[in-house]
Symmetry: C2
Subunit: 268 residues, 2 copies
């Protein structure tokens, strides 16, 4: 289905690691759909080449910031900068339905069924569960929506300074629409603070997407080197989830090298 795509965005090298692990997790959970990553100038050619071995499409974007003349007039809020680059995904009108995934997520079990959902479908945010978390959402690319969001960003702004506050202002009725509510298993927030361990344990096998919300990104924690350590020196669910991220990330060389072989073949 060429109409459907998974989409993420990375504006710098920091989130590149996330896109590597996320892309591999999508491959290994056998998605039928296209995998698209939006990159800005902050991601150099070598990194793009690596990503290309995992993702189907790399699309260049201009970060929505003060240098962006095209949008400046609409936003009128240059200080909001990179924060609103996520809005650009609504420009991907070559696709009908997309699933956006933050670069700090990984897919543990196939989630292709999400493409049956309508815009805007998302899971509750653990901080204020009557808002949705904007790390995973189903959307329909559309230039009008894109312009409306930009206008809202300029007129009202975002109550949290980021895309989540903006989207929750635009889709303010989300909380009242049962069919737009994704089960929490599609966006399970894992971080170093509050953690309802018993529930995580109970629903562990059902978890589809892990989201490493906040500052403790898994690529900053090489101690969780792989799942093999879980039960030996790692033992909480949290450790286990960080290790799962590393399990995907550690496979990167297989992907990168596969491309090397491919490249040298083509060059002959």
């Amino acid at each position: 289905m060429i109409d459907n795509a998974y989409v993420t965005i990375i504006t710098n090298e920091y989130y590149y690691h996330g896109a590597v692990a996320l892309g591999i997790s999508l491959c290994k959970t056998d998605t039928k759909y296209r995998k698209v990553v939006l990159v800005s100038d902050g991601v150099n050619q070598e990194l793009r080449n690596n990503l290309r071995t995992i993702w189907d499409e790399i699309i260049q974007i201009d970060v929505l910031d003060s240098k962006d003349i095209r949008h400046l007039s609409l936003i009128g809020r240059p200080e909001l900068g990179v924060t609103f680059s996520k809005l650009l995904v609504w420009e991907l009108i070559q696709f009908k339905t997309c699933v956006f995934l933050d670069a700090d997520t990984i897919v543990l079990r196939n989630i292709d069924e999400l493409f049956c959902r309508d815009e805007l479908s998302a899971a509750p945010d653990i901080g204020w569960p009557d808002c949705f978390n904007s790390g995973v959402f189903v959307f329909k690319p559309c230039l009008e929506t894109y312009r409306n969001l930009l206008k809202l960003a300029g007129d009202v702004g975002s109550f949290d300074g980021g895309d989540q506050g903006l989207f929750n202002t635009y889709w303010v009725n989300w909380v009242n629409e049962q069919d737009k509510r994704l089960p929490f298993i599609f966006n399970v927030a894992i971080n170093m603070s509050y953690f309802y361990n018993a529930a995580i344990l109970k629903f562990k096998r059902d978890i589809r997407v892990l989201h490493f919300l906040g500052l403790d990104k898994p690529w900053l924690r090489p101690c969780y080197v792989s799942s093999e350590n879980v039960g030996k020196n790692l033992d909480t669910s949290r450790d286990e989830f960080y290790a799962k991220w590393w399990d995907f990330y550690n496979e990167k060389d297989t992907y990168f090298n596969r491309n090397e072989v491919h490249k040298s073949k083509t060059e002959h």
Copy 2:
């Protein structure tokens, strides 16, 4: 309306402080309904007298524990002990509809409208938002429900060892019933870990019930002595909420003394 009641439970002196502040908050937000507190042997006569100046009814309960012969056979899990005492509220069949409030909650604005809701209505839990938090819920006292819950406790147990895990097993379909979902403003969890500050700020004025979840109970934090300090040496929303608890609690002597006057009058 004699058919409706707010209900809390305290099994010891620790939670007594909570019941004092909660009761005062219900008075000051002008509830029309009865206020009932269940107390066990862990709460002495002096404390009960104090509570009686704020709450309409003090009801003696036996903690559901291994010494409780009546329930032991049903539960068959003596180790679960005090945890399941919350089940006893279903025995209050003199009432038709009740709103249960944990002793570590306070009401900021009148919530009497909750009595129009059906069983079991509750707000999402911030740890796993597809489960409800059992600190605030609407229920219909009923001996059969009570027995069913006890049986479930014995047969299956609770996935978190507490009432919340048990209730979420019994009302497992809660997440699919939009009308059973209370807005988060009816049970806003405040604690020392994760905190979505921007959302709290945005929705602050709408908040009806604060819930001091976890270990940082406000009575352990006398530093937040009153709201007058907010903006001086206190300034986060979190501090402000702890101070609000103290504002209620600090009024206790007015209530206690009022009763003294009343008592001495009666004694003459």
